[in-house]
Amino acid sequence: MNANSTTFRFAGLVFLFQILAAAVLLFGLGALLRSQSRDAAISRAETMRTDLLESYQFGGAEALGQAVDGRLMAGGSRGAVLFLADARGKPIAGNLRQVPPRLAPSRGYTLLKVARTDHVMPEAMFLRVGRLTGGELFVTGTIVESERKVLAQLERASLAALALSIVFAGFAAFVSTRLITDRLRATVATLRNVRGGDLSQRVPRDGTRDAFGLLGSEVNATLDRVETLNAELKIATDTLAHDLKSPLTRMKSALDRLGRTVREPEALASVDQALAESERLMAMIETALSITRAEAGLGRESFERTNLTEMLATIVEIYAPMVEDEGRMITLNASSAVIVPIHRQLMDQAIGNLIDNAIKYGAGAITLSVRNVEGGVLIAVADEGPGIPPERHAQALARFQRLDDARGGWGAGLGLSLVQAVARLHSGTMELRDHAPGLEVAIVLGGQADPAA
């Protein structure tokens, strides 16, 4: 999936917000609990300190020492840490062995791991040391070991939950994108079928009035319009063809009659020329109509399973004498029978057009070929003329029309348009290839060919 695709971005966004929400919840809660436990511990220690310092004011170090011991002996102050030492650091009273070396005198509390006098294991505690007016060092604090343990456990649990939430977030992202693509699948499939020529396809209604439902109904409304326009166009072209044909018929009839009555050779030549031109005009109308119909996907019902090898052999036979008269050759290059369902008459016409072009604009031998290729069947007409350089193939496809206009004739443009329309009708494409030397025009049919029968 492309990182720029909206689906990918959407999935990424869902993922990111899921993770963010989980992280804020877990770490936020941890931080809150931590700060609460710290505040409680400090306030307890400070209350003790204020109480005890009163004894110091009244009775000095000795009274404070007794008060400390008394406080520690009494049951009500579990978790309390108290320590009094003289100016040189010699212990006077309390449940520490010494002033912890890492503890500097300050007004704030520091979290340290220190072992009490009657304990082996160091415990986490908030401590504050201050020098009293007589030079003694007085340490107060609260043990927070058990809270620390709970918090550490909470932290581990948070990390595990976060890891889990990454999985959940990934899943949520996956599900939400699948939801979108699933909702769009019917629309996409419908449009694909319409592009394939089935204009009657519509997006199934799902009754929801969300963005996807709206998109579906808009697509359907557009397709309704396209279908109407297409039907109108078809009626218009059919009518036009019919309307054009009637006067053309009368014109040809008149010329025909004239041709059978006049005897002057000069008049006869003119009549013949006019007849030939009217026939050409007729052929152009027919070709244009064929293109319109093929482009609209009309005619698929006439597909017949046809042996392309036999069909091309027949075409070679028909064209051979004329090509040979020009001092050139036309051959078929096919190893086995290739049988595919095709519109026989349109394919005949398309290949005929390609041969006409090879005769008019190409040179040397003309080779027809048919073979199975990756994912389909390839029918090609190649010549040995100057060809078209590969880098100009795409340009040439678009330019055939104008190239043809420049010649003041018709054939290649309309002819190739027909080849392209016929290829598309068969779910295929028209391609220009280098024949080294010469040009190869290929019709690549998408349908899988039967194994040689």
Binding site: S246, S253, D256, A283, L289, G299, E301, I318, P321, D348
Partner: protein
């Protein structure tokens, strides 16, 4: 016996043109300007061929055809139509028509097709093994061709072309009839493709002969026969 042809066509100009042409060629024509009249006349059953326009006021051409065939009338029918798409053509032929001609057409083309159909209807020949035209002979079993006792070597495509011509001796066959009849090819290449075939065949058959057999019919096509 004069052969009668029924022409069902609403366009007066086209109908005049066809009727005049057919009468010049010795046919008798009855005309109907709409499907209902046409069907009424057709049930008479004495016609050797019906030329039926597809788009008619009242009863449409295809409906007339269906009614005829439904009534068991087997008179050959040639459909004339401005609808030239392969689908229309196939639909016409599968609905019981014997031939289908797209407008505009050359009169010679219609005439040739009428003659082909009429001949087919009257003379249903027994299985032939030898086709003849004057001193030209084609043995269908040994696939040998000779003229006046002289063996003629033909390529397979020339053989098939000549066979088709010999099966229609003294009839005019157009280029499109040849493309359809010999190769089952329903697209007119529009070039002189067929002319080249014929000129090659003519070289092999008629060169050095006092009496040419293969004739070009101006504005129509070709004819094989002893008469010039």
């Amino acid at each position: 016996m004069t052969q009668k042809i029924l022409l069902i066509e609403d366009d007066t100009t086209t109908a005049d043109f066809i009727a005049n042409g057919l009468e010049e060629e010795g046919f008798l024509t009855d005309r109907a300007a709409n499907g209902r009249d046409g069907l009424f006349l057709a049930t008479d059953g004495t016609y050797c061929c019906i030329v039926l326009d597809r788009m008619l006021p009242g009863l449409d051409g295809m409906a007339v055809l269906a009614a005829l065939r439904g009534a068991g009338i087997a008179t050959p029918v040639i459909i004339l139509s401005a609808l030239g798409s392969p689908e229309d053509r196939i639909k016409g032929l599968t609905s019981g028509a014997d031939d289908y001609l797209t407008k505009p057409f050359a009169f010679a083309e219609l005439l040739a097709r009428i003659r082909l159909i009429v001949r087919r209807g009257t003379a249903a020949p027994a299985v032939q093994t030898v086709l003849r035209c004057d001193d030209l002979e084609m043995d269908l079993l040994s696939r040998r061709v000779q003229r006046g006792g002289r063996q003629i070597d033909l390529q397979p495509r020339e053989y098939r072309l000549l066979e088709f011509l010999l099966r229609h001796v003294d009839q005019v066959v157009t280029r499109t009839i040849l493309l359809e009849g010999v190769w089952d090819y329903h697209f007119d290449p529009g070039t002189n493709v067929i002319d080249v075939h014929l000129s090659r065949l003519r070289k092999k058959i008629d060169e050095g002969q006092a009496r040419p057999l293969l004739h070009t019919v101006r504005g129509a096509g070709y004819r094989i026969g002893a008469q010039p």
